[in-house]
C-alpha cells in the first residue's frame, strides 16, 4: 500500500517535504521547549496570516509576504518583551490577535471563494511543488547553520541567561537569531500543516525528547526522531485513512508524546527505591 503511495510524484515530494520539515522543526523545537517559547511560536504563526493576506490581496507572493510579516513580528515581540515593560505573554497575545484580525479584514475584501485560504490555515502538503522544496531546503540550510554554529551558546543562554550575559556572550543577537529561525521555520511548515497547526511542530518533538531524557544530546536525537517519524508517519496515515495531512501529522505526533508520558524516567524510580547516593555531604551531616 505504501509502495502504491510512493508511485505518485506528488506523494514522493510530499514525503520528502515531511521528512525535511520534521527534521528542521524538531531542531528548532529543541530550543523552543528549553527556552519556553511555545506560545511565541503560536503567535508568530498566526500573525503570519496578516502577511499572507497582503500577498493574496495584492497579487504578490503570499509566502514571501507572510515570511516578512512573521519575521518582523517575531523580532518586534522579542524586542518589546526584552525591554521588560510588558510580559512576553501579553505582547504575543496582542500581536497574535492583531495579525489575524488584519488578515481577516483584508481577506474579506476578496470576492468569491479562495481554496488557498483553507490550505493556508490547515495545510496542503499534497500541493508541494519542486519550487517549494527548494525554498524549504534553503531555509533549512540557513537555520541549521545558525543553530549548529551557536549551539553551545544557545544552550548556555537557555540555561542561565544572566550568567551568559555577565560572561560576555552576545545574548541579544543570539536571541533574535533564534526568533528569526523560528519565524522562517514556521513559514515553511505552513505548507505542510497550515498556520493553525504549524506551531505544534515547534513544540511536540522536543517536548517528547524532554520527557524521555535528562541529557541534552539524547533529548536532541529523540526530538529529531519524533519530528521526522511523526511527520512522515502522519503523512502515511493521512494517505491510508484519507485524512487532511496537517491534522494527521499533528495527531500522530501528539500520540507519540502521549506514549512518552508512560515512560517513567530513571531518576524518579531511584528516588522511590532506597537511599540516594552519598554525595559528599553525608559525613558532616552525621556530626551535626
Amino acid at each position: 500500500m505504501i509502495s502504491a503511495m510512493l508511485g505518485y510524484g506528488f506523494m514522493q515530494r510530499a514525503l520528502l517535504a515531511a521528512v525535511l520539515v520534521g527534521a528542521l522543526c524538531s531542531t528548532v523545537a529543541f530550543f523552543v521547549v528549553l527556552r519556553r517559547l511555545s506560545f511565541l511560536g503560536v503567535g508568530i504563526a498566526h500573525t503570519a496570516l496578516g502577511g499572507i493576506s497582503v500577498g493574496l490581496v495584492t497579487g504578490l507572493n503570499p509566502f514571501l509576504c507572510g515570511s516578512v510579516f512573521a519575521l518582523l513580528s517575531a523580532l518586534a515581540i522579542g524586542d518589546i518583551s526584552r525591554r521588560g515593560r510588558y510580559d512576553e505573554d501579553t505582547v504575543i497575545g496582542i500581536f497574535f490577535a492583531a495579525g489575524m484580525a488584519f488578515g481577516i479584514a483584508l481577506l474579506s475584501s476578496l470576492k468569491g471563494y479562495y481554496p488557498e485560504i483553507f490550505s493556508l490555515l490547515f495545510g496542503n502538503i499534497l500541493s508541494v511543488s519542486t519550487a517549494d522544496l527548494l525554498i524549504l531546503a534553503a531555509v533549512m540550510v540557513a537555520v541549521l547553520l545558525f543553530i549548529s554554529l551557536f549551539f553551545k551558546e544557545l544552550l548556555a543562554i537557555s540555561f542561565d541567561e544572566e550568567a551568559a550575559r555577565a560572561g560576555g556572550l552576545p545574548v541579544a543577537p543570539l536571541y533574535f537569531g533564534l526568533l528569526a529561525a523560528m519565524a522562517l521555520t514556521i513559514m515553511v511548515s505552513v505548507k505542510l500543516v497550515g498556520i493553525v497547526l504549524a506551531s505544534a511542530l515547534l513544540v511536540i518533538p522536543a517536548a517528547t525528547g524532554y520527557r524521555l531524557s535528562r541529557n541534552y544530546r539524547a533529548m536532541f536525537v529523540l526530538s529529531l526522531l519524533t519530528g521526522i517519524g511523526g511527520s512522515a508517519g502522519g503523512l502515511v496515515i493521512s494517505y491510508l485513512f484519507d485524512l487532511p495531512s496537517g491534522a494527521a501529522i499533528v495527531l500522530f505526533m501528539a500520540l507519540l508524546f502521549g506514549a512518552s508520558m508512560f515512560y517513567r524516567p530513571r531518576t524518579i524510580r531511584r528516588k522511590k527505591g532506597g537511599e540516594q547516593k552519598n554525595t559528599g555531604d553525608g559525613p558532616l551531616y552525621k556530626n551535626i
Partner: protein, 261 residues
C-alpha cells in the same frame, strides 16, 4: 592589560546611583575593594544588593557615578569579563533542564573568544578539575536539576572558577541552604580564596554567617550605611536605631535562624 596591575583596586564604585522605573534603587554608593580582599555586602531584601552587583557587571546602566572592575569601567568590561566569575542570585532552576553538572561547569568557559570554537579535551579536563576542587566530581554526570541545593551551588562555584577568575561576584550563594550546606560552601570558598588569591564580593542578607569569613562588610539599604570590619559592624550600637538592615541581623543572631525559612 589593566587587570594585571596588582596595586590598583579590584573594584571601585564612585557615587554610584541607580534608578529603575523612576525609583532610586541605589544612591551614592562609594567604596573600593583591594586585590585579595573578601567583602560581604549585606542589607535587607530589596535593598539594592543584587542591583549593585549587576551594575558593577555592566548589566544595568547607572543613573550617575562610575564603577570599575579590575581596572576597566563597568560599561566596557570587554576582555576582563574572562577574569570575573559570577554566581547570579538563585532562581528556581528548571528541574528537568537536560544538563549534567559537568555540562553546567563547561558553560562557564564560554566567552566571545570561544564563539565558533569547539571546547576541546584539555578544557573539558579543566571542568572536571574544578568539580573535584569543590568536592563534586562524583556528581559530574548527574543531572544538575537532581542535585541538592548545596550541591548545585558548589557546581555553580565550579562554573565561576573554570574561567580562572581574579574576581568573584557571588549573589546570595548560600541562601536557602541548610546550615550544613552553608557551612560547607563557605569553608570551600575560604580554601579556594587562599589557593587562588581571589578577590571576592559576596552579597548576603545574613550577616551572622558572613562575619567569620569576610574582611570587611558593606551594609546597603539604598544608600551605604556602614562600612567596616565585621566586629565593628556587629558591635555598632547605632546599628539598631539607625539602620533597618540591623533588624535582620539581630533577629538572626537571637534565634540562630535564617529569617527566610
Amino acid at each position: 592589560m589593566p587587570f594585571l596591575n596588582e596595586k590598583s583596586p579590584a573594584v571601585t564604585s564612585e557615587s554610584l546611583s541607580v534608578r529603575q522605573n523612576a525609583h532610586t534603587v541605589l544612591e551614592e554608593i562609594t567604596f573600593q575593594v583591594a586585590p585579595g580582599e573578601m567583602i560581604g555586602v549585606i542589607g535587607p531584601n530589596g535593598g539594592g544588593k543584587t542591583t549593585l552587583l549587576r551594575t558593577l557587571l555592566g548589566l544595568i546602566r547607572p543613573f550617575a557615578g562610575r564603577s570599575t572592575l579590575l581596572g576597566c569601567p563597568s560599561a566596557r568590561l570587554g576582555p576582563v569579563r574572562a577574569k570575573i566569575g559570577y554566581i547570579p542570585q538563585k532562581r528556581t532552576h528548571d528541574r528537568r533542564f537536560p544538563l549534567s553538572a559537568a555540562d553546567v561547569v563547561q558553560t562557564g568557559l564560554y566567552s566571545p573568544e570561544t564563539l565558533l570554537r569547539p571546547i576541546r579535551r584539555p578544557q573539558r579536563e579543566r571542568c572536571r578539575e574544578m568539580l573535584e576542587m569543590v568536592d563534586a566530581l562524583p556528581l559530574a554526570e548527574r543531572s544538575f536539576g537532581d542535585l541538592s541545593g548545596g550541591e548545585q551551588q558548589r557546581v555553580l562555584l565550579a562554573r565561576a572558577l573554570v574561567r580562572r577568575p581574579l574576581l568573584l561576584l557571588l549573589d546570595e550563594p548560600a541562601a536557602g541552604l541548610d546550615p550544613k550546606a552553608q557551612y560547607l560552601f563557605m569553608e570551600k570558598l575560604r580554601q579556594l580564596r587562599q589557593r587562588f588569591a581571589l578577590t571576592i564580593l559576596l552579597v548576603s542578607h545574613d550577616l551572622a554567617s558572613l562575619a567569620a569569613y569576610v574582611d570587611r562588610i558593606l551594609c546597603i539599604n539604598r544608600t551605604m550605611h556602614i562600612h567596616g570590619e565585621p566586629q565593628q559592624v556587629l558591635q555598632s550600637s547605632a546599628l539598631k536605631k539607625i539602620y533597618r538592615c540591623s533588624y535582620d541581623l539581630l533577629r538572626m543572631a537571637a534565634s540562630g535562624e535564617d529569617e527566610n525559612r
